[in-house]
C-alpha cells in the first residue's frame, strides 16, 4: 500500500490492497473510537463539479468521523471552473489548502488530470460514465460482510448494464476471484458492452449468461445487483422513457430466491426496487450506503498514510 498515492480506478488496487482496505473498514466498524482522531487537523477537499449529494456526504461524514475537516464545493457553478479555470490549475491550487482531494467531474479522465497536477492524494469520486472506484469498494465491503468472501458466487446484474459504470467496475473487481458466475439481466438495448464481455469476463474465464428475464435465474443467485436506468447517460429522452421501467423488483419476484440472497443497488433508486423490499432481510442497499462511508474512511487513512501526512 505504501506506493499508492491516488485512487482513479479500482484496478489501481491489487487484491491484497483491497483486502487490506476491507480489513481496516471492518476494524473501524468494530472499534470506531480507535479512529476518531486519526485525521485530527487534516482537511479533505470535496471538489464536486457535478452534484452528487450521497457520495459527497459520504466522503464528508467519513472525514468527520476520522476527526478531520472538510472544505469544497458541490457544483461547478460555485467553483472557479465557472470562470474557465482548468482542472490542472484547480488541483494545484486546492493542493495548497487540503491534505487530500475527492473529485467528481462530468468529464471522463478529469480526476486523472487532477492527480497528475496535485501534490496531495486524489480520489476519483466519479468521472462521467467512466469510473467510480469508491462505489465499487463499498460494494466489495458489502459482499465481504454479507457473504464472507468473494469466491464461488453467482451474481445477477440487472437493469442498465450498458451505461452502468458500477456494474462494469464490480464485474472487473469480482472477476479476479475463483468460481464467479455472472447472470446479465437487461433489455436488448442496455446489454453489457462487448468490450466488457471480451476484455474482462472472457479474459478471466468467467462463466456468464445473458437474459432478459429477471426471474429465470433468481433461484441460483447469491447476489442480485439492481441498477437504475440513468437519465443523464442518454442523449435522447425518448429512449430513456422507453427503457426506464424495464425491471421492477417486487416481493413476488423474490418468491423463488435463496433465503440468503443479498439484494444490492448503488442508489439512488427511482422505482426499480419496490419499497416493500426494504423490510426484507435480504435488502442490503442501505447497508451498502453505510459501508460506503466506512470504506471511504479506510481509503482516506491509507492514502494519507502513504503520503506521509499521518502516521
Amino acid at each position: 500500500m505504501s506506493e499508492l498515492r491516488h485512487l482513479i480506478d479500482v484496478s489501481d488496487l491489487t487484491v491484497n490492497e483491497i483486502e487490506e482496505l476491507i480489513a481496516t473498514a471492518n476494524d473501524i466498524i468494530a472499534n470506531p473510537g480507535k479512529y476518531a482522531e486519526k485525521c485530527h487537523g487534516k482537511k479533505l477537499a470535496t471538489l464536486f463539479f457535478e452534484p452528487s449529494t450521497r457520495t459527497r456526504l459520504s466522503f464528508e461524514a467519513a472525514m468527520y468521523e476520522l476527526g478531520g475537516n472538510v472544505l469544497g464545493f458541490s457544483e461547478a457553478q460555485s467553483s472557479s471552473a465557472a470562470k474557465g479555470e482548468s482542472v490542472a490549475d484547480t488541483a494545484k491550487v486546492v493542493s495548497c489548502y487540503a491534505d487530500i482531494i475527492a473529485m467528481r467531474h462530468p468529464k471522463e479522465g478529469a480526476p486523472l488530470v487532477a492527480a497528475q497536477n496535485s501534490t496531495v492524494p486524489v480520489i476519483n469520486a466519479g468521472d462521467g460514465g467512466h469510473f467510480h472506484p469508491t462505489q465499487t469498494l463499498a460494494d466489495l465491503l458489502t459482499i465481504a460482510r454479507e457473504k464472507g468472501g468473494f469466491e464461488n458466487l453467482t451474481v445477477g446484474f440487472c437493469g442498465d448494464l450498458k451505461f452502468g459504470r458500477t456494474v462494469h467496475s464490480l464485474i472487473s473487481a469480482l472477476s479476479r476471484y475463483k468460481g464467479l458466475r455472472v447472470i446479465l439481466i437487461s433489455p436488448e438495448e442496455l446489454k453489457l458492452p462487448s468490450y466488457v464481455k471480451n476484455d474482462i469476463l472472457k479474459k478471466a474465464g468467467v462463466e456468464y449468461i445473458q437474459t432478459t428475464d429477471l426471474e429465470e435465474y433468481m433461484p441460483e443467485l447469491d447476489i442480485l445487483y439492481m441498477t437504475r436506468v440513468q437519465k443523464e447517460r442518454f442523449f435522447n429522452e425518448e429512449d430513456y422513457l422507453r427503457l426506464k421501467d424495464s425491471y421492477i423488483l417486487t416481493p413476488d419476484r423474490l418468491v423463488n430466491a435463496k433465503a440468503d440472497l443479498s439484494v444490492m443497488h448503488p442508489l439512488p433508486r427511482v422505482n426499480e426496487i419496490s419499497v416493500e423490499i426494504d423490510k426484507d432481510p435480504r435488502a442490503c442497499y442501505f447497508k451498502q450506503v453505510l459501508n460506503g462511508k466506512y470504506i471511504r474512511m479506510a481509503l482516506i487513512l491509507k492514502l494519507l498514510q502513504s503520503a506521509g501526512t499521518i502516521g
Binding site: V87, K107, G109, V113, D127
Partner: protein
C-alpha cells in the same frame, strides 16, 4: 519512374500501399520546404505493392507516428549519400498528440491544453485506448 537518390535524409520504405499519404499528412511533411517524394504502389517482392516516402533533408521524423500508421516499415537514414542506419519500426506503446480522442465526454474535449495520449491496449489487434477515458481509438 526514377526518383533521384538522396544525399542526406530519410527513406521510409515498406509502407503498406495506400497509407503513404496518411503518413505524409501526420508527419507534417506538407509543411517542409525541402524535396519530399511519395511513391505510391511501387512493386515489392515482399508486399506486392508498397508506398515509399523520401525526405531529402536531415530532419527528425516521429517513429511513433510511423509505427502507428505503418508498423513493420523500414526507416533508412542516409548521410553523405550512404545508408548509415536502418531501423525496423514497431507499434509504439504510447501515442502523444498523434490522434485525438473523439469521446465528447472525455476531459480532452474541453481542456484544450491537454495532450492527447493513447496507450497500446492490445498489440495483436492494434487497439489503442485514450489514457484519460479509455475510449478505443478509431
Amino acid at each position: 519512374m526514377n526518383i533521384d537518390s538522396i544525399k542526406n535524409g530519410t527513406v521510409i520504405d515498406h509502407i503498406p500501399a495506400g497509407r503513404g499519404m496518411k503518413l505524409y499528412e501526420l508527419l507534417g511533411l506538407d509543411k517542409l520546404d525541402c524535396p519530399v517524394a511519395i511513391i505510391k504502389n511501387a512493386v515489392s517482392s515482399q508486399m506486392g505493392r508498397k508506398d515509399i516516402i523520401k525526405i531529402d533533408a536531415d530532419i527528425p521524423v516521429s517513429f511513433d507516428i510511423i509505427g502507428y500508421i505503418a508498423p513493420n516499415v523500414t526507416v533508412n537514414i542516409i548521410k553523405g549519400g550512404k545508408l548509415i542506419e536502418k531501423k525496423s519500426i514497431e507499434l509504439p506503446e504510447t501515442l502523444i498528440d498523434v490522434i485525438k480522442c473523439k469521446n465528447p465526454r472525455c476531459i480532452t474535449s474541453t481542456e484544450q491544453e491537454l495532450k492527447h495520449i493513447f496507450r497500446l491496449d492490445d498489440p495483436e489487434k492494434r487497439v489503442y485506448r485514450c489514457a484519460y477515458c479509455d475510449t478505443k481509438a478509431e
